[in-house]
């Protein structure tokens, strides 16, 4: 029965990746020189402003206080934060319960719902280290938020930019 799997076809089809604008190189170089703590604070401030309004109603009880690290590999950027009933909180460097590593472009594609995390994982473009269940829980919680709800909660104009970017990339 196992012989059936010899029919696996190698991938010789061209890659079909919907394009997003690349992170400009000089900016990337600048970002990589930023120390983690101010970067984490900036990230958290932006997250609380842009994303939190649509996330506050989720049940964060299993996630509250757990330590997240987001590593943007091409920018050499490490962000540390946790989630609480009143929003994201920046953390000083240290141990994280779960770490997500990907490029800025791929994180953006995930955030815009253009790509599925499993796909990026199979292609070795996303790495989840530490508490897998925690990572999976957050991924599934975010997946369950409707894009319209998320963009509606964003500051004026921002939601439209997000939808526009998504639309452009899908074309």
């Amino acid at each position: 029965m196992l012989g059936t799997l010899r029919f696996a076809q190698p991938t010789n089809y061209p890659e079909t990746t919907m394009k997003l604008p690349n992170f400009p190189k000089p900016l990337a170089r600048f970002v990589s020189t930023l120390p983690s703590w101010p970067a984490s604070r900036a990230f958290v401030a932006a997250g609380n402003l842009v994303a939190w309004p649509s996330l506050r109603d989720l049940d964060w009880s299993h996630v509250a206080g757990r330590r997240f690290r987001v590593q943007v590999s091409d920018l050499g950027l490490k962000l540390y934060f946790s989630v609480h009933a009143n929003g994201f909180r920046a953390l000083h460097n240290g141990l994280a319960d779960v770490t997500f590593t990907a490029t800025a472009q791929d994180f953006a594609r995930l955030a815009l719902r253009l790509e599925d995390p499993d796909t990026l994982f199979f292609n070795r473009r996303l790495l989840i280290e530490g508490d897998t269940d925690l990572g999976l829980t957050v991924k599934n919680m975010l997946d369950a938020v409707e894009l319209e709800t998320a963009t509606a909660g964003m500051p004026v104009g921002m939601g439209r930019v997000v939808m526009k970017l998504r639309h452009l990339a899908l074309k």
């Binding site: 059936t4 799997l5 076809q9 590593t101 796909t119 199979f122 269940d133 369950a144 894009l147």
Partner: protein
Amino acid sequence: MSALLELICPAGSLPALKAAVDNGADGVYLGLKDNTNARNFSGLNFDAKALAEGIRYAHNKGVKVLMALNTYPQPDTVSRWHQAVDTAATSGLDAIILADPGLMAYARKVHPNLRLHLSVQGSATSYEAVNFYRERFGIQRAVLPRVLSLPQVENVVNNTDVEIELFGFGGLCVMVEGRCLLSSYACGDSPNTFGACSPGHAVRWQQTPKGMETRLNGVLIDRYADDEKAGYPTLCKGRFDVQGETYYALEEPTSLNSMEMLPEMARLGIAAIKIEGRQRSPAYVAQVTQVWRAAIDAVKKDMAAFKPGSFKPEAAWMAQLNKVSEGSMSTLGAYYRPWK
């Protein structure tokens, strides 16, 4: 007219359900937030509110909603499964997908009008088995396990009135559906009762100087070099040391893709094609549904035009499907094999 090549797509969340509906699914299947279904992962699946909204959204657009209740109830918690059947019956769902005969008996007795589908986890590979479920429990559709070749499928179809559903695309189980205990060896939880193979709490990934390691409850199941594509952290897709040689001893990380065989499936009168992946994100559901909708439409449009083996799916479709596949590659699996 009876169903022909209905496209049945997975939904692990409301946005995924909407993605399936918006991209051309004929039906979506989903599960509740507990171990009554085989994708029992934290944060995934539907609560009462999402279920009601999902059914409303799908039915508004003429799309069916099916509920997977495809795990095996245990004596002390059987009421949970009964409740799930009751929920399905009262919520206006179009069918439930069951594997356990006891649960079928319950559904049949308490909700005689509820449409029953036999899950792939029921592992019915012969028409005798399928007809047995029809006779005893009145099932109207059976999802056949991915162990059968197409001629074997044909033999089932020709000898039963039950509608037959086949897998079209997605992660591949090692082909002993409903009977696999591999995960329990490492985790102590069987997918058929716990509702998840390789549950998240048991999985650890770690980048090491030798490559990315996957562990299941501490057991090293694979190590990927930087240029190697990865698969799901299941034991069946691990590389093992067998008499001094380390290789994929059971199965490679790869997804099933039976698209090339669509005309043959149409000719056999296959009622529905199932897409695997309730654990995946809305982006996957949208991408895969779109491609399969296009392929099924192409085949249905001119069924007579396709001689066996003459259907060539568009390269862009196959590229899209391979991209989202485990190990970034796909196989026709057992459907195409010259031997039985």
